[in-house]
Symmetry: C2
Subunit: 603 residues, 2 copies
């Protein structure tokens, strides 16, 4: 790749042609998703910054890069300070900052494909106050200037069998179409690629970790669907697989296809769908109706087949996790203190050996000792390689994409003897994990209401963790799926049967160590029979791997908590043993042995 100063020169020339005083280059691509294909790493091309959150602003004579606290170290390593001012995106919001840099009459270019409509409207307001104009660029200036841009890989879409999805695309589209009619709309923009994948029962390989076919769709109130994507990705048998009424168009043809909706009302989510689609719909004469993606709730509430698929995937994933944990203990026992990267690769090798494995579901967090104190640590971004430390902990947060489900598990492992403080705090975290796992709650309860169950034992000791307790998880889809969540932040979304969430309380001591205990759980209706006749829900844990008993302080556990741990470990042992043998089976047996209740004096 040519030097950043040459790239900037090229970009500024293109800006001059369009008479732009500034250009906004966000990290997001036209699909506004969490992961990008290499050919869409535009922020990296324009700034050298490779973090997952940030934006660059290029002006005629200056430029700046904005990112958040997670990347303060990395951004200084990657970005040339002679060419870019480096700013904190929270302390210095980029649009407000830009408004302060330009004269009245200034022009700011942006590509509406790379921003949500809400962002574009808010930016326009802020800039207008300074009489600065926000101008759409017809094409993307980075793409125009990017000489050695990688070509987009073209993987044929995978047609996911009904044995995995439980319902045909035709049935799903009929249900959502009915919801669209109830809103009095003629169609809905289904922008999120995972919503489209769910709706069509297809998956893809366009980006790492997320099995998506990049593109977007328009679902009509009669169930017909227009799918805008690269038609080369459409495999044989697609038409028969998705059923009648599905048409495929190149994305560039969307504006033409939108013309059919002149005068009609179209549902779209201005917070998650890109501005370009919605502006083109308006230009085509459609009226936008701001509404949540109608696929969100049905996708979040997995059907029986999807839930069983998640269970099956977690069984195989548990086998891989146990093989890894057994190998890790053996290595440490003979003094092999591996690096975080080696450990991550080894874990992947065990997952890769499992049936139906497709990919990891996110970049593995493989963190030794003090690195584990950073909840979002990634060894690949670390300044130097870190190896395991004796008498500390190792935290590994990882997951897999399988044809029948998505997994996400965190285990914290004792390396030697981490000491009494670590054992006590691990136990407080585990008690919170157990309390949330054991919760039973009435219909209508939100994750906000349950969050305290995972924190109350830490709070009692003046401790806490600064991240959410649980995020939604898709079925062979995104490992971060809405709308459900369990967190301090207000959520008005009630938990419903079939929703999958993580249960991942933690504790982090700066510069010392980190702890996290994560299983995935499924919401199910409880068969508790109360004479009130209330509908009650509860969680079923589907993750299968032991928690490290060497980190459990029995004197802090109640009898119920000890029973829970022994029962959970018995389930893990019973389900995984048939798939293990030799040392690995022996390791599982000792790792899941029942512990004795020590009463609860200290609890």
């Amino acid at each position: 790749m040519e030097h950043i100063s040459e790239r900037l020169t090229r970009l500024r020339a293109a800006m001059a042609e369009r008479e732009l005083d500034a250009l906004i280059v966000p990290r997001a691509d036209e699909y506004l998703g969490e992961y990008l294909p290499p050919h869409n790493e535009r922020l990296r091309w324009a700034s050298d910054f490779s973090g997952s959150a940030g934006v660059a602003i290029v002006m005629r004579d200056r430029a700046a890069v904005f990112t958040d606290g997670r990347y303060t170290v990395q951004v200084r390593q990657q970005v040339n300070p002679d060419l870019f001012e480096i700013l904190h995106s929270v302390e210095t919001p980029h649009v407000k900052w830009l408004a302060g840099q330009l004269e009245a009459g200034g022009k700011v270019g942006y590509d509406p494909r790379m921003h949500s409509l809400n962002w574009a409207r808010a930016a326009q307001k802020i800039l207008a106050k300074r009489e600065v104009e926000l101008v759409e660029t017809a094409d993307n200036l980075v793409d125009r200037c990017w000489q050695d841009r990688p070509v987009a890989e073209v993987h044929p879409a995978l047609l996911l069998d009904e044995d995995f999805t439980g319902r045909s695309s035709t049935e799903k589209r009929a249900d959502i179409a009915a919801a669209i009619r109830e809103e009095g709309a003629a169609a809905a923009l289904i922008f999120a690629a995972d919503s489209v994948a769910w709706l069509l029962n297809i998956r893809g390989r366009d980006i790492p970790s997320l099995p998506l076919v990049l593109g977007f769709a328009l679902l009509h109130s009669d169930g017909r669907l227009d799918f805008f994507t690269n038609p080369e990705k459409i495999p044989e048998g697609f038409a028969a697989h998705v059923g009648e009424g599905v048409s495929v168009f190149p994305e560039a043809e969307a504006p033409a296809a939108f013309k059919a909706l002149a005068g009609a009302t179209v549902m779209a989510d201005p917070a998650t769908a890109n501005a370009w689609c919605q502006l083109e719909l308006e230009r085509a004469g459609a009226t936008l109706l701001a509404a949540d993606d109608p696929v969100l709730m049905p996708k979040a509430c997995k059907n029986a087949v999807e839930v069983q698929g998640m269970r099956d995937a977690h069984l195989r994933d548990g086998v891989a996790e146990v093989k890894f944990l057994a190998w890790l203990d053996a290595e440490v026992a003979v003094g092999h203190l591996h690096s975080e990267g080696e450990l991550s690769d080894k874990l992947l090798s065990f997952r890769a050996g499992q049936a139906r494995f497709q990919d990891i579901s996110f970049d593995t967090i493989s963190a030794a000792a003090a690195n584990a104190a950073l909840p979002h640590y990634h060894h690949v971004n670390a300044p130097e390689e870190t190896r395991l430390h004796m008498d500390s902990v190792y935290l590994v947060d990882s997951g897999g994409q399988y044809l029948d489900g998505t997994t996400d598990i965190t285990r914290t492992v004792a390396i030697g003897d981490p000491g009494q403080e670590v054992r006590e705090r691990f136990t407080l975290v585990l008690k919170g994990h157990i309390a949330l796992d054991q919760a039973r709650f009435p219909e209508g309860t939100t994750g906000t209401q349950l969050d305290v169950l995972a924190r109350m034992f830490l709070w009692r000791e003046g401790l806490d963790y600064d991240h959410g307790t649980g995020h939604g998880v898709g079925a062979f889809l995104s490992v971060h799926e809405g709308p459900q969540r369990i967190a301090k932040a207000v959520s008005e979304v009630p938990l419903k049967p079939g929703m999958v969430l993580s249960n991942e309380p933690g504790y982090y001591k700066d510069g010392a160590y980190g702890i996290r205990c994560e299983n995935l759980v499924v919401v199910r209706e409880s068969d508790i029979d109360s004479d009130d006749g209330r509908t009650m829900y509860e969680f079923e844990a589907i993750t299968l791997a032991p928690f490290d008993l060497r980190l459990v302080e029995p004197s802090l556990m109640t009898v119920e908590e000890t029973d829970w741990l022994n029962d959970y470990h018995a389930t893990v042992r019973d389900k995984l043993s048939p798939h293990l043998e030799g040392d690995e089976l022996a390791w599982l047996q000792q790792a899941t042995q029942p512990i004795q209740p020590a009463g609860e004096k200290a609890a």
Copy 2:
């Protein structure tokens, strides 16, 4: 009082004079408070309905009364069905209903003093859709037609000593004035009578249960305050008590006084302040700035003197409660099964014997057996007198207004042997009460996040209660005070030191029995020392009375819960014993004896 048909005739004549097709008569008076003085019971005069929530709509040829589920029985007993249609206010919102009754061009009269500005704006919108006009009446038509209307009692205001308030009115007004300046406003409408009472360190006797001087105020950004009330209520020494800058005007002179604010910005809360004040401010040329009452938070966060006053009041209130509970046991023991009314009167007599007692803080809920299953039951509204039932429970929810504080306590008492089911469910309620009492939580935590702690044990058994867990309580002010609360409903108000809340989980079995365990707690900063250095808060229980040990099932209690109960009872015994003697002291000693932990198998 003349017959309702004559009252309606008179009202309709006044409506005809004004050419009104309909008149809205709400239950609220011009102060929009929870309680009314007798001369403001306008809804009762216009409909015979005396419930605490409702509205009447009178038309030329028809009329209707709207109320909610709490009053479905009472409204049919009180209101003449030949003259009034009786409708459910939730199923049939009154303004929507009215819009459907009138022809285009119709005129609906309302008195803007009796409604919030938000209500008036919403009603206007709904009626406008049907081309129906909402018309202010210059005077109140009920008042004009009400011949034998009681005269408003004139009680001189009480000047509350700084030994009770902890801060002078001058200091308080200076702080709030600074907050008004921060909002860029010239003044704030302080409409809520309890906010005015707090700001001026005065109390009154205008209405039952609430020690208020009815009126409203305008606080200027320089600390000056205009108090609009009946000047006859202002006692000698008022000026010296409140300090410089306080002027008193009759309420009718408010529009004239508002003229001084022409061109200025005035803060007002359109949800809680009446429409009249805000419309008159606009007519005077002021610009309204919608904002919360700036007195709410400082009033809710009690200072050290107020908190100590609340503790002192609860000590005396506990003595009265214990005398009552001791007397009750003795009466039941000799077979005297009193009526709910007799029990309520007896409890009042014990409170009345306590120093600084002024009034009850709300209508006592004195409920035997099945009546206790109605959380808002009031024996005075019951169709017939109910006496205690053997082998059931008695629930008494009551409170007092003392010069130094306000109390609110609920105890559930065994009458004979209520049986194992009642004991088990009482214990689940008590466990929730204990869990909430023992909560420790970080700065920024809201009541919504903590609510589950009081419900989790009931939820585990498929049970719940359909009311909030905790409401704010004032210091010798309203027993229902905002903005803090603990409930399922979303609250974005963080709990702060000095806030007083109730902790009152319950359980209600239709037609059988009801259980509630209520103490008041104060939020305080915790001295827990965690190396995270987080600011943590916790609760201090200030209510002092035993929970009925005959209703506790020890096998459901953990060791910690048993310790909590024994410690709490020891505190109650130590603090109240010096104020009791003879049989009452003996009763307290046996009622607070330690119970043995039975382990927790069944928990």
